[in-house]
Symmetry: C2
Subunit: 376 residues, 2 copies
């Protein structure tokens, strides 16, 4: 199974509509794949909250309407912030039946902020979490508090992650943020959103779309091989979760993925992790085995997760600074890994990168999707 085409839009506060963004990402991926739309056997869509924010469900038929496709199967997948990754997971399974499949993720989050906040809260349990006021910054603030208490993680550790991701985004033409005067003081002095998380600890509300083409067989030299695809589920409700400093679903999915690829974390050259909040990047590094629980702060402080470090994490800026158009985020991670493994990442290129991993999470660990890719 190969990634044979990639495409995306800029992420940010954008004028384009959901169909316009989708069309742009699909066209870019087809062009990159040197493929006509007629060569696609099916399309899988990752979209989280098109209903609540755009009054648009049934987005699979929307895509049928805007593309010159001939009635091929098109299916929408929704697993909260892991929708893009889950759509890819499904698409890869469907290669048992098909030859070339498009995966496209898209989201429009820049609507009235109450509407967006309410929509995003729908990824949490209605009965327990929503009723407690656990919108996502609040949930991840609790997680950060617990991690700090248990492991001595400090505010500065979170700030250094934010700084790294903003610096990386400054090298990414598609990123939501281009923030050339970013520095550690600006981050530390930013307003508190939900203690201990400040503005610069939170991913933004982005609009955008990204797409990849997956194929059963290799078509060109530069095509990247998918060597592991794994999905696991965990608790929807944070209220019912005992230990909130780690996500069991992620650990299970990543162990399965390492087994499929016959690799261990030290074999991976580049990691794209789901940093919806800076604390989530810390939890991710520990859950996927880059280091032991509580030790990621050392890697961060020593600069080892920077582009020129030995364990580069979120080279495109991550959800924090590349942006987080929810349904598109998991596929933007794949876009970046493929760019890196093809040596097309320009001034953010990681040297000698041949194996990359994506980590896409829904809710507070309710859904986890892990993929591993190898230069072939």
């Amino acid at each position: 199974m190969y990634i044979t085409g990639i495409g995306r839009t800029k992420f940010g506060v954008l004028r384009q509509s959901l169909p316009e963004l989708s069309y742009a990402a699909i066209s870019a991926a087809l062009s990159d794949a040197e493929m006509e739309v007629g060569q696609l056997d099916a399309i899988f869509i990752g979209n989280f909250c098109g209903g609540p924010t755009q009054s648009q469900l049934h987005i699979n038929a929307l895509i049928a309407d805007i593309l010159p496709v001939s009635h091929i199967p098109i299916i929408r997948i929704e697993t909260a912030c892991a929708s893009g990754g889950a759509a890819l997971y499904q698409a890869l399974i469907s290669l048992s039946r098909f030859n070339n499949v498009m995966v496209v993720g898209m989201e429009k989050l820049n609507v009235e902020s109450v509407k967006a906040t309410s929509a995003i809260a729908m990824a949490a349990d209605r009965l327990h979490d929503q009723a407690e006021g656990l919108i996502f910054p609040a949930s991840y603030a609790l997680i950060a508090q617990q991690h700090m208490l248990r492991y001595g993680t400090e505010l500065d550790d979170l700030a250094f992650i934010s700084l790294k991701n903003h610096e990386n985004a400054n090298l990414n033409e598609f990123a939501h943020f281009y923030n050339t005067d970013i520095d550690i003081n600006k981050i530390i002095r930013s307003p508190v959103v939900c203690s201990p998380l400040r503005l610069y600890d939170c991913a933004p509300l982005s609009d955008g779309a990204s797409a990849v083409v997956v194929s059963k067989t290799k078509r060109r030299d530069r095509d990247v091989k998918v060597i592991a695809s794994s999905c696991a589920t965990g608790n929807l409700s944070l209220t019912n979760t005992k230990d909130i400093t780690s996500f069991p679903a992620v650990k299970i999915a990543v162990l399965d993925a390492y087994k499929q690829a016959d690799l261990s974390p030290k074999d991976i050259d580049i990691f794209m992790v789901h940093d919806c909040f800076t604390i989530a990047e810390i939890i991710a590094m520990e859950d996927i085995g880059i280091c032991k629980p509580g030790e990621s702060k050392h890697l961060v402080r020593e600069g080892r997760t920077k582009i020129n470090g030995d364990i580069p994490v979120n080279t495109d800026g991550g959800l924090k600074a590349d942006g987080h158009p929810i349904g598109a985020s998991g596929l933007a991670q794949v876009f970046e890994i493929v760019k890196q493994l093809r040596s097309e990442a320009g001034n953010r290129q990681v040297k000698n990168a041949s194996i990359g991993l994506t980590h896409n999470v829904g809710g507070v660990g309710g859904t986890a999707v892990i993929h591993i890719f190898r230069k072939d």
Copy 2:
């Protein structure tokens, strides 16, 4: 590929919550399959508008929360009213990787009626159809007008379909409606919803859940074989559709299904079609080749689509009278076919039924899913 377990709740205006309904249907299907939840390798969910009506997205993680499952992949599929059928389609594809997979569809539609109507309208194109006021009764009223104009279909033909489906539902313990004083006059004199469609031409807003277990191999004698599984897409927008008396996606999916099964319509003993409105049952009969366009009225008038007719259609009462909890409807069709092919349908049993077809449609033909089942 086999259906090895089926379960459902009653459909109707129900007190139970979305997780309670889901749990009930899943438990019933596992019990029917004589299987433990631990034997499931994955779960696929069909749900349409849990976000807009229940403030609950990420329902895959909700299911992980309420079941004693060990982090297996759970994925939510949404393709409007075809969500249940599309989830089954995906589950069957996933049998290339898994042995036993649960498919569960659920919906709660009994909320404030403006909220429900707005949510259902999200299955139509936001830019064109929603802006024109094309809520679904309006769309299907236009379809009915065109079908009447072109083929001479009459109000009475629609009424006879409603009567048949209500009579069938009276034999179905799970049905939304138990209406023993139904007669043709009551139907014809019911209030006009959107001309020419009257109250009794419209499926109700139902709550409910249904589930099926699919397995790679046959486990018991009564297991029913899946001999065709097909999905196609068409236009999202009615505004942009030239001929609205037929759905091209349905024709393409059903031709593919007949080809997979090496059968023609006359080989099918029982049909479950997507009668969200009575006119939709007419369009369905013609699109799936039971008769030529415009001729279904004769079959209806002659009583040939009744349970004891030679072409039984919607023996459980269909969406019209069994009910239409959107994400669950496509799987309730499968429940009925399996009951019939196992000869467990009691006083609505079709004699010598060995092959059955389900026809599940999203929007106004935007998504079409066809399955064919055979007694094995």
